[in-house]
């Protein structure tokens, strides 16, 4: 194999859509099991009380990253054969800051709000309804946003390209960073929850 199965086995349209549907089912299921269908579970990371969001996210990233770069190393599926996210530095920075704002104000992000909505959370249903509205604002103001939206265009840039080191080094460094960050946040959690316990 030297590419994703959809290319290797020339998937038809139906097979591709079925694969996407199945991936979505797995995605939704694990998001729910992680506790991401509830805004309080998600928001508590921003008050230092429960870093569940970071634990799940960093573990998922390290798991997928390790597998992906292992496939690349073995030549089973080179990174160049899959769709790598293009870098558009400035809109990604500003969009990220705004998504963070939407997260703490609304209590969800787009994926988790779907899971919350199907678990019956009224706030999540309202959040879901807001998303296409925001998307619509972007669409109607696209003429004035287009310039910024295309700024900082760098194409397919990986962290290893920027740092000028082999990708294996970055994989190792990111894993260390994740372990270090998760160790640090459990300390923060302990301090915050101890002082919260004293206050009440």
């Amino acid at each position: 194999m030297d590419g994703p199965m959809s290319i290797e086995f020339s998937f038809g349209y139906g097979a591709e859509m079925t694969a996407a549907l199945i991936a979505g089912i797995g995605f939704g299921f694990f998001l729910e099991r992680a506790g991401f269908g509830r805004a309080d579970n998600l928001a508590s990371i921003f008050y230092g009380r429960d870093f569940r969001v970071m634990r799940v996210m960093f573990t998922a990233i390290v798991t997928a990253m390790t597998g992906l770069y292992f496939c690349d190393l073995l030549g089973i599926m080179p990174l160049s054969s899959i769709g790598i996210m293009d870098t558009y530095l400035w809109p990604q920075l500003v969009g990220g800051l705004m998504l963070g704002a939407g997260f703490i104000i609304g209590g969800y992000c787009p994926g988790t709000s779907i899971v919350g909505a199907v678990s019956g959370k009224v706030d999540a249903i309202l959040f879901v309804l807001g998303i296409p509205l925001g998307s619509f604002v972007f669409t109607v103001s696209y003429d004035s946003l287009a310039g910024f939206h295309k700024s900082g265009m760098m194409g397919r840039v990986l962290l290893s390209d920027v740092m000028g080191v082999p990708s294996g080094v970055v994989v190792f460094a990111v894993t260390l960073f994740a372990v270090g960050a998760l160790f640090a946040v459990s300390k923060i959690e302990a301090v915050v929850n101890r002082s919260a316990g004293k206050a009440s």
Partner: protein, 171 residues
């Protein structure tokens, strides 16, 4: 009555999510996403109201091909999967319940207003960044794409910066 089951250990859930993402890369060559589907729903609604405007808009015009409508796309099928998987997860754990999540000293109606507002901001933001927590932070993060890492730190930065101002909603 089914007994409510506890959430999973976060590391176990994280490994599960990571494996779904990895398998998605291996099988389809694509990662995961969510906001892209909402963008297409929005595009479909705009098209219903004013087809000419929608087809000529540079942001969504490319969704209206001669063969496939705006909703006939892998990201929409993925989102339908999230609906099914999330529902199955909540149902099997006895967690389906109509309720509004908010902190003890915050009223429900204000929470509803902020939920819509947060959704609107996120919808706009995900378009600006070309993806959300799923499409950028998880997918691009695992690929080690530069912009996705910038995005991820920006999400945490934006949320921490505003957390104090909306603290009554949560704690």
């Amino acid at each position: 009555m089914t007994v409510k089951k506890p959430f999973w250990n976060p590391y176990a859930a994280g490994i599960g999510l990571g494996l779904v993402l990895l398998l998605s890369f291996i099988v389809t060559g694509r990662g995961l996403g969510a906001s892209g589907a909402m963008k297409r729903v929005q595009a479909a609604v705009v098209h219903k109201i004013d087809p000419t405007y929608a087809e000529q808009n540079p942001n969504i015009g490319s969704y209206f091909g001669p063969e496939r409508g705006p909703l006939d796309a892998w990201i929409v099928f993925l989102a339908i999967g999230v609906v099914l998987g999330g529902f199955a997860g909540a149902l099997s754990a006895g967690r389906i319940r109509i309720e509004t999540i908010h902190g003890p000293s915050f009223n429900r109606e204000s929470r509803w207003i902020l939920a819509v507002l947060g959704g609107v901001i996120s919808g706009f933001a995900a378009q600006m960044a070309r993806g959300c927590t799923s499409g950028q932070a998880l997918t691009g993060g695992a690929q080690l794409a530069l912009g996705s890492w910038v995005f991820m730190f920006a999400v945490f930065g934006g949320a921490y910066a505003l957390a104090w101002f909306v603290r009554r909603q949560w704690i």
